[in-house]
Amino acid sequence: MSILLNKSTKVIVQGVTGSEGTFHTASMMEYGTKIVAGVTPGKGGTVYSGKNGMLFKKAIPVFDTMEQAISATGATASIIFVPPPVAADAILESIDAGIGLIVCISEGIPTADMVKVAAALKNSKSRLIGPNCPGIITPGEAKLGIMPGFIHKPGRVGVVSRSGTLTYEAVKQLTDLGIGQSTCMGIGGDPIIGTQFIDAIKLYNEDYKTDAILMIGEIGGNAEETAAEYIQKYVKKPVIGFIAGKTAPPGRRMGHAGAIISGGKGTADEKFKALADAGIHIAESPADIGKKVAEALATAPRRRHVALRGGRMGKIRAKKLKS
């Protein structure tokens, strides 16, 4: 199962004909993602298969609106590659069209626009990942994002992170140690994001294909603390955590719009403490993330949750494990 995305998920690319959209659509198709359509207002009715040497495995129809694209293809997910001034509108259009999963890669959306998006998401059927994020990948099946596919390996650790390249770093450490991933999700570095740590952790906790959860946080806000409280109460799987920005000065925006210590709040020390207090395995050094996951997996009661879970799939799974 993994979470949110697999090889049969039908995907629409918003902003498919732009250079970013084209490049990453080709790469996502290459990885195995089932891309069924693109949306570029004004280019509806055409068929697109890439440009400038970035060619798609398969040509896809282009529509003017999300509504048309969904009704023609039955897609359940979309990914957005449009410039920041129009990105919030693209998200709102997707929410209005009632699509289940929206991944927004665009970086630099004004906070005021995202306040409106957050309000629209509340009473909708849609889940948003991002913005300002690398997206989501279910290794060996499909990717809905801009991450390099080859560093991933199918497996049983769920990864959730606010960062891009730091997530790749952590994933590579896991893969180098032979530890695969069920799904990896970058939730984005902005102050307002659609899917928070706590949401991703809930999903991994309920996913029987995920045995352990790796969360990579950073300074700013208190989403890590909120997630830690939840983990302490509800998560029996081992959770491993790292927080970036121990050496970041207060009051400065560290690249990500949301990575700022303001009024002495949102420091790495506070977050590390909240994680440790919740019984989460801590990687003190970013170079030791993979090792800490390996240690946590070695000491954890092996897949007890599978037997506890019940249900047909759970039982089959448990049986398989015994044999």
């Binding site: 920041p84 004004p110 957050a118 309000a119 960062s163 590579k172 790292f242 000065p249 400065r252 970013p286």
Partner: protein
């Protein structure tokens, strides 16, 4: 983006938020002249001279001599960043005070010992204060809504109030669709215990303030203190306004409000090349792609016994020019004793980055050890390029190895 108090007040006046009369001065003569024209000649006998720097805590901060570092005294007491003057020969006093402040440095609780140099002053009319309050508007990340906060504890650090007496901060969130409503302003007013004229003045004040926050794309708007005058009027005595950097594209007029002298010269230089650089006090420079990895790399340097000299995210398109500029900026920092390059190639190819590093080092003289860690797409070819360059790199195979090499270099 941060702006000065006097600039914020100018913007607030457009929204009819009450402020006191005042003008900015860039030189001592100008300060004296403003005081005469605006105040003394009109019979006003009290003015306030306020250092215009982006750091807070100015009222308690003390001016230090730029050359000797000694505290400056004027009229028999330490000269503070915000000083009230009154009585005879007011313009002359303002002139003397401005002369003592301008070009010297203000050290406040927020600036650290280094302080910041005062280049601009704001000369403002004095007022009779009945009571000081606090008003602030900021994004609440948890609810994804902007929140209006007020408190009876004005003129002190709001973080202190939040930590010690959180019950004294009243909050109302701004509905993203309907906006801030009058009943919410009234609820805040009653919460503060206001009545009569004070109540009547407060409600429109906070409504207008909220309007300004929204229309100007602020990320922070703080009035501390918000004062109630003896006439029963609410006035913004101070104003701290930050803009959302992501929204700057729709406010081209903000460019004029930018004050480069408030930033580190290296950061100003880096911004010209679209490099995300923040100067720190350490001895190991670092160049990284991606903000999260850049922070993690700084942390790793610290764990390895060094201290990061900067935050530097070169971004995705790490071409020769970007890398050369990044090197130039890093090497302008005299404290840098070693450089760590940490690139995780996803979309960006490591071999291209390696080419860029080699070419950049042909352009920029670097005489400290350079540790390079390139991983991800085409990492093997990249290492080849570095090895064949004839330059001396310390090549790290992974993050852990990079840490070790930093530790060795720092210890040597």
């Amino acid at each position: 983006m941060k702006i000065h108090e006097y600039q914020a007040k100018e913007l607030l006046r457009r929204f009819n938020v009450p402020t006191l009369q005042g003008r900015a001065a860039f030189a001592a003569e100008e300060a004296g002249k403003i005081c005469w024209e605006e105040f003394e000649s009109k019979g006003i006998t009290t003015v306030v001279v306020k250092a215009q720097v982006h750091a807070g805590g100015r009222g308690k901060g003390i001016i230090h001599d730029i050359a000797t570092g000694a505290q400056i005294e004027l009229f028999g007491k330490p000269l503070r960043g915000v000083t009230v003057l009154s009585g005879e020969n007011l313009s002359d006093k303002v002139y003397q005070l401005a002369k003592a402040m301008l070009g010297n440095k203000l050290v406040t609780i927020q600036t650290g010992a280094a302080g910041c140099i005062v280049h601009r002053l704001f000369i403002e009319q004095g007022c009779a204060i009945e009571k000081e309050f606090y008003a602030g508007i900021v994004l609440d990340r948890q609810s994804s809504k902007n929140t209006v906060m007020v408190s009876t504890e004005g003129g002190v650090e709001i973080e202190k109030v939040a930590a010690e007496t959180p019950g004294k901060i009243l909050k109302e969130s701004i509905d993203p669709l309907a906006g801030f409503q009058a009943f919410q302003a009234k609820r805040l007013a009653f919460g503060l215990g206001l009545n009569g004229n004070a109540y009547k003045s407060f409600v429109p004040f906070i409504m207008k303030l909220t309007q300004a926050y929204t229309d100007l794309d602020c990320s922070l708007l703080e009035i501390n203190p918000l004062v109630l005058t003896t006439d029963g009027e609410f006035i913004a005595l101070d104003a701290k306004m930050n803009f959302d950097d992501n929204a700057l594209y729709r406010h081209p007029e903000y460019e004029e409000l930018h004050d480069d002298s408030e930033e580190d010269p290296l950061e100003v230089e880096a911004a010209k090349f679209d490099l995300n650089y923040i100067k720190l006090d350490g001895n190991v420079g670092c160049m990284v792609n991606g903000a999260g990895l850049a922070m993690a790399t700084m942390d790793l340097i610290k764990l390895s016994g060094g201290s990061p000299a900067n935050f530097l995210d070169v971004g995705g398109g790490a071409d020769v020019e970007r890398i050369a500029n990044a090197f130039r900026i890093m090497m302008s920092d005299v404290n840098v004793k070693a450089v760590l390059i940490n690139i995780f190639g996803g979309i960006v190819r490591c071999d291209k980055v390696a080419d860029g590093i080699v070419q950049a080092l042909n352009q920029v003289k670097v005489n400290v050890p350079v540790i390079v860690r390139l991983d991800g797409t085409n990492a093997i070819e990249a290492v080849e390029t570095l090895r064949n360059s004839g330059m001396e790199f310390k090549i790290a195979t992974n993050f852990e190895d990079a840490a070790r090499k930093v530790a060795e270099t720092v210890a040597a």
